[in-house]
């Protein structure tokens, strides 16, 4: 059986960069656009890297800034200063 992790963002300016970064770092992920939200799902694992986001935004970016735009997640969370990972065992 497939085991999908997912993250849902509000559809806004910040999230468009987030979605771009996520899709770049997770080529196996699938992106869905629904009214007012962007949903990204992937088999087993999804990673968001601070470094990629900082490149996209051309400024410093704190991983916890993401909390303002996240609507929902599915999967075990592992967060530190450099990345945010969603994963199923």
């Amino acid at each position: 059986m497939s085991q999908l992790v997912f993250i849902v963002f509000q559809d806004n300016d910040d999230s468009r960069y987030l979605a771009e970064a996520v899709m770049e770092d997770n080529p196996h992920a699938e992106i869905q656009h629904q009214p007012a939200l962007i949903r990204i799902q992937a088999e087993k694992r999804l990673v968001i890297n601070r470094e990629t986001m900082e490149e996209k935004l051309a400024r410093d970016w704190d991983v916890q800034e993401m909390l303002v735009n996240v609507i929902s997640i599915g999967g075990n969370v592992d967060e530190d200063d450099d990345h945010f990972i969603l994963e199923w065992n």
């Binding site: 999908l4 939200l37 916890q64 909390l67 609507i71 929902s72 599915g74 967060e79 199923w88």
Partner: protein
């Protein structure tokens, strides 16, 4: 004294907050300080294993929460200043908000109280901090929801006394009794019930597809509070999953206790969310996703992945999950036809879905809608057109546990009513399902005390014997304004006037 200027990383900061600011008591016994920690039978051998993956410290918490509030209130202001209520898809939509403010917002308030209480009861500092933050979040949700809806209250009926109604109105005893059940349990059951079963497994169904639907129906204020609340929920959900893993890793004796709680709270949550099924299928004039589709994505798919992950602890999926999965084809239709009959006692309106909506339902529910439900609506529409809008004057029998009227059908037999009963100490009790009957059997002394609205009315405990008095005086539902059929209601007429159209045919006025 050496001064260190090194910037702390996230893990260190969190460690300082949740460990180094806690202390071991010396002049009081630990079990006297935390008297509720043991009685449920959960064994915790090492609280230091508690891990909050978000590692949120107070300074970041206030910073991000303040930012969320500023964004949210800027949108509330814009919505009110620009008469946002005039830009929704249709006034029928507002009925979903009436259900929301009476049924869901008070649960946010209950969660605020519940987490404040649970947070006091754990001897582990990490769990206390997480519960405290969640308690503050839940208070924020309750308040922002009331602020958002106060604008609608100026223009539509039925939103004027939600807190009062939550404590008294028959169908609102479903959410109220759910949360009271959780809050009167011990602290570990409370977390399993609310953080895990409700927040992690089920709330996505309310706050993701329904809120997306609110956006699609032009309700800028609701979608914004919904998503703002849900941005806290992402943290709560993570906590819910961590709580479960923490308890299960602490001691093998915890596994059967947690499994029983998961079975119970999945089922209770599923019954509660049947209210959301009709908000999605019937109360969103512009449709985004059906209840069945939302259930497939947010329960079957996500829940499947989750329970596969928990297999390694000896946890299996909830006991009655098959029944819930089968019910996705029927739930909203069975519930809406029930509310349609009892609209004289609700603070929101009901109606027969329009033809295009029924066609949408045929497409989304190909195996059930045309066969079982469309004919009922065609009949009800014909009756209403002939001046006989149907209301059922016999009050329904309620389930002793979930308090939903016994209206659902058996799995695989959609014309057979699901009903269980048993005798306990000389009294006969009725249930909507095997799931609810099981819950009763395990703790009969708790559920015999249920305050069942229909029983209370018939016993004369609701300020009067006739329904009109109960509805008006005891519930504070304004007869002829808040209740009955949507077509011809004051809300309907007001909406027609906003849109510059003539009021609907006066013959279709509510009884």
């Amino acid at each position: 004294m050496a001064v260190q200027n090194k910037k702390l990383n996230l893990k260190d900061k969190y460690q300082y907050l949740t460990r180094d600011m806690s202390w071991e008591p010396t002049y009081q016994k630990k079990e006297d300080i935390f008297p509720h920690e043991d009685f449920e039978g959960i064994k915790i051998t090492d609280w230091s294993q508690w891990e909050d993956p978000f590692r949120l410290t107070m300074d970041s918490y206030w910073k991000y929460q303040a930012e969320k509030e500023k964004k949210l209130y800027a949108i509330f202001d814009a919505f009110a200043q620009n008469n946002g209520h005039q830009n929704i898809s249709d006034a029928r939509y507002v009925n979903a908000l009436k259900l929301f403010i009476g049924g869901i917002s008070p649960l946010e308030h209950g969660a605020y109280q519940g987490y404040a209480k649970a947070g006091r009861q754990f001897s582990g500092a990490g769990a206390r901090v997480a519960c405290q933050m969640q308690s503050i979040d839940e208070l924020r949700h309750s308040q922002t929801q009331q602020h958002a809806m106060s604008h609608y209250n100026k223009h539509f009926n039925g939103l004027h006394d939600a807190a009062h109604m939550h404590d008294r109105v028959w169908f609102l005893s479903v959410p109220k009794s759910f949360f009271d059940d959780a809050r009167t349990a011990g602290p570990f059951e409370f977390l399993t019930a609310i953080s895990f079963s409700f927040e992690y497994v089920l709330t996505n169904l309310v706050f993701v597809p329904f809120m997306s639907g609110a956006a699609y129906n032009g309700d800028m204020a609701t979608v914004t509070f919904g998503f703002s609340a849900q941005s806290d929920e992402a943290r709560h959900m993570t906590l819910g999953l961590e709580v479960i893993k923490f308890i299960l890793e602490q001691h093998e004796d915890n596994v059967p206790i947690v499994q029983r709680w998961i079975d119970k709270w999945f089922w209770r949550g599923f019954r509660l969310l049947s209210l959301v099924s009709l908000m999605m299928d019937y109360m969103l004039p512009n449709k985004v996703m059906s209840w069945a589709e939302a259930w497939e994505v947010y329960y079957e798919q996500n829940g499947g992945a989750l329970f596969k992950d928990l297999e390694r602890y000896g946890i299996r999926p909830p006991k009655y999950q098959e029944v819930a999965n089968d019910a996705k084809h029927h739930l909203s239709h069975q519930l809406w036809t029930t509310f349609y009959q009892y609209s004289y006692a609700t603070n929101f309106h009901t109606w027969v879905p329009e033809k295009e909506e029924m066609d949408w339902m045929s497409e989304k529910y190909p195996d059930t809608f045309d066969k079982y439900y469309r004919p009922r609506y065609e009949f009800l529409a014909k009756e209403a057109a002939a001046g006989r809008r149907f209301y059922n004057n016999t009050l329904p029998q309620l389930c002793q546990v979930c308090q939903v009227p016994n209206l659902f059908t058996e799995m695989g037999a959609p014309t057979k009513l699901s009903h269980r009963q048993l005798v306990h100490e000389g009294e006969r009790y009725h249930f909507c399902s095997e799931g609810c009957c099981d819950i009763f059997k395990h703790e009969p002394e708790k559920y015999v005390q249920a305050w069942l609205p229909v029983h209370q009315i018939y016993q004369g405990n609701c300020e009067g014997e006739d329904i009109e008095t109960v509805v008006q005086k005891y519930y504070h539902i304004n007869i002829g304004e808040d209740n009955f059929e949507y077509l011809g209601s004051p809300d309907h007429k007001r909406w027609m006037a906003i849109k510059g159209e003539k009021p609907a045919d006066e013959n279709q006025d509510a009884a």
